[in-house]
């Protein structure tokens, strides 16, 4: 039987049970959760940064107090988790839930999970409204610690079924990594000794899952942080922007005013403007050269930056010149003359051999044909277009 989503509807005079009223809330929540799960990717949306403050005991021993900044995350079930206030991490909870190891360099992951819990019943309601039953559900959260390496399996967490709403966190908890803490058992302080915040490579941040992104304004901007963010690294951005002359794609640093300082600009005409150097590419219309000494049987090396596939495909023209290199000691009894010296035009394999002659005897006698080396020049001409 086909499962269909149902939307609450009411009629005049209807006596509304609590379940129908709850269903109106659940309908919207489930729809939002499915949107978050399938139109976006789960992770940290904003904030939720771990920071550590170095603290000392009266005897001078140092440790670290670690706090979590306010923020919002969306877990893999589509549940929104809101941490409204700055939260100190509890070292006592850490010691009870994780068995700290002697290695003080270990990093213990810190996770955020969501949990629904009944709010206390309102105590001000009286009469027919007086009740001990909860009239709201608190969308709470937990900060949990894990053993080193337990963050490696986060991508294996089980997604809910297609039509499910957000998980309530009671049976299954979806973990969102916040960062890492360190612990030194030798100090005896039972305090954190270090914190390792997330970065772009270690954190899972909320994203967009879309096959098409279309802008209504004629300009589309992708940036590593909001323009007004105070990040220690330069904020980078890519902008595609229409213009009466054709428009362009620009990559560069994003200023606090939201404009990009261009590092690379690609115009709609195909022109590329770069403020830096292009390495690894061969400029059309250029000539690339390689030269040196090579031994019999070798394949002559190409100039740097020339792609062997371009040579094989015939998109560049290769010119090869070799000449025998007679630099071994010569004498009338062992006078080396070139026997062969050429390079195969298609494979660039060198054939270079010499033959020593003895001119002290009459008539001159030839020695064994011997592989030798040659001077080579390889010139690659790149077509202008």
């Amino acid at each position: 039987m086909t499962t269909l989503e149902a939307r609450p509807a009411f009629y005049e005079g209807e006596i509304l049970p609590a379940a129908d009223l709850t269903a109106t809330v659940d309908y919207a929540r489930n729809q939002m959760a499915r949107h978050a799960r399938y139109s976006h990717t789960w992770g940290i949306v904003t904030g939720l940064q771990l920071t550590g403050t170095s603290t000392a005991t009266s005897s001078g021993q140092t440790y670290m107090t670690v706090t979590l900044s306010p923020g919002i995350a969306t877990d893999g079930t589509g549940r929104e988790i809101v941490v409204a206030d700055q939260v100190p991490l509890d070292p006592t909870q850490f010691a009870l839930t994780v068995a700290p190891q002697a290695d003080k360099t270990l990093q213990y992951p810190v996770f955020l999970t969501g949990l629904d819990q009944n709010a206390p019943a309102a105590s001000t309601l009286t009469g027919a409204c007086g009740t001990s039953l909860p009239t709201s559900i608190q969308e709470a959260y937990n900060i949990v610690f894990g053993a080193p390496g337990s963050d490696q399996s986060l991508s294996e967490q089980t997604q809910p079924a297609l039509t499910d709403g957000p998980d309530d966190g009671s049976s299954v908890t979806w973990k969102i990594l916040l960062g890492y803490v360190k612990w030194d058992t030798s100090t005896g302080l039972n305090q954190f000794t270090g914190v390792v915040p997330l970065d772009a490579s270690t954190g899972t941040y909320a994203g967009v899952n879309a096959a098409t992104v279309v802008s209504p304004s004629g300009s589309l901007l992708l940036a590593t942080h909001p323009a007004n963010a105070t990040d220690s690294n330069p904020i980078l951005a890519v902008q595609i922007k229409e213009a009466s002359g054709g428009g362009s794609l620009v990559f560069g640093k994003l200023t606090s005013t939201g404009t990009i300082v261009p590092a690379v600009t690609i115009k709609s005409t195909g022109d590329v403007i770069a403020t830096g150097q292009l390495s690894g590419a061969v400029t059309p219309g250029s000539v690339q050269v390689q030269s040196g000494i090579a031994f019999d049987g070798m394949t002559l090396p190409l100039p740097p930056g020339v792609d062997p596939s371009a040579v094989a495909g015939g998109t560049v023209t290769v010119h090869v010149h070799v000449s025998p290199r007679i630099d071994m000691p010569q004498s009338p009894s062992a006078f080396s003359l070139p026997f062969e010296c050429f390079a195969d035009p298609s494979t660039r394999v060198v054939s270079c051999r010499v033959q020593p002659w003895d001119f002290t005897t009459g008539p001159p006698t030839a020695g064994p044909v011997t592989p030798s080396h040659c001077d080579y020049t390889v010139i690659v001409a790149v077509p202008a277009s």
Binding site: G292, P301, P304
Partner: protein, 184 residues
């Protein structure tokens, strides 16, 4: 500017088979010899032109048996690369051991013994490259680590029947490679 030389040598026996220099170094140095050997490094040794086998003498050593390294250019090595091997320190060194003698073939069989005046260098191995006089592909025959003054080789199971003449390039660690002719 430091000028480098590239040496292509056998990975199992460390015999240098080719050397080259280049004026323009790439931005990332190659770590495998494929760029310089194509489908295989052609190896020829000094041979008398009057020998009927002369036109076909030439082994093609697959890149799988080769390795590549760069060193500061040494003209003596570049122009005489076949006289060098890579020693235990990982640097090119000239052969010092006296060349091994002509292998004594067991009549009628593809079996022979390689006599050496001096035992091979430590941790050496041998590699045989076999090619028919009439040409064709090179058949590599890897050997195990060897010691002592005599190395017996028996390839009878590979060439059990028929007759023919073969070139065998014998590569032993610490010795200059030598080509011998085997008639079965």
């Amino acid at each position: 500017m430091t000028v480098n030389m590239g040496l292509i040598y056998l990975a199992s026996t460390f015999n240098v088979l080719a050397a080259f220099t280049r004026g323009a170094e790439p931005s990332s140095i190659e770590t495998v010899p494929d760029t310089f050997v194509g489908s295989g490094l052609r190896v020829r040794l000094p041979w008398d032109q009057s020998d009927p086998a002369f036109p076909t003498l030439g082994f093609v050593v697959d890149a799988a048996h080769l390795t590549f390294a760069e060193f500061a250019a040494n003209p003596a090595v570049v122009v005489n690369s076949r006289n060098y091997y890579i020693d235990a320190t990982g640097k090119p060194a000239p052969y010092t051991l006296a060349a091994f003698g002509t292998p004594a073939q067991t009549a009628g069989k593809f079996a022979f013994s390689i006599p050496k005046v001096t035992p091979p260098v430590a941790s050496s191995a041998y590699l045989l490259l076999v090619q028919s006089w009439t040409g064709g592909s090179t058949q590599p025959v890897p050997g195990t680590l060897i010691a002592g003054n005599v190395t017996p080789v028996d390839l009878s199971s590979s060439y059990p029947t028929g007759s023919g003449n073969f070139h065998v390039l014998i590569c032993i660690g610490g010795y200059a490679p030598t080509v011998v002719e085997i008639s079965v």
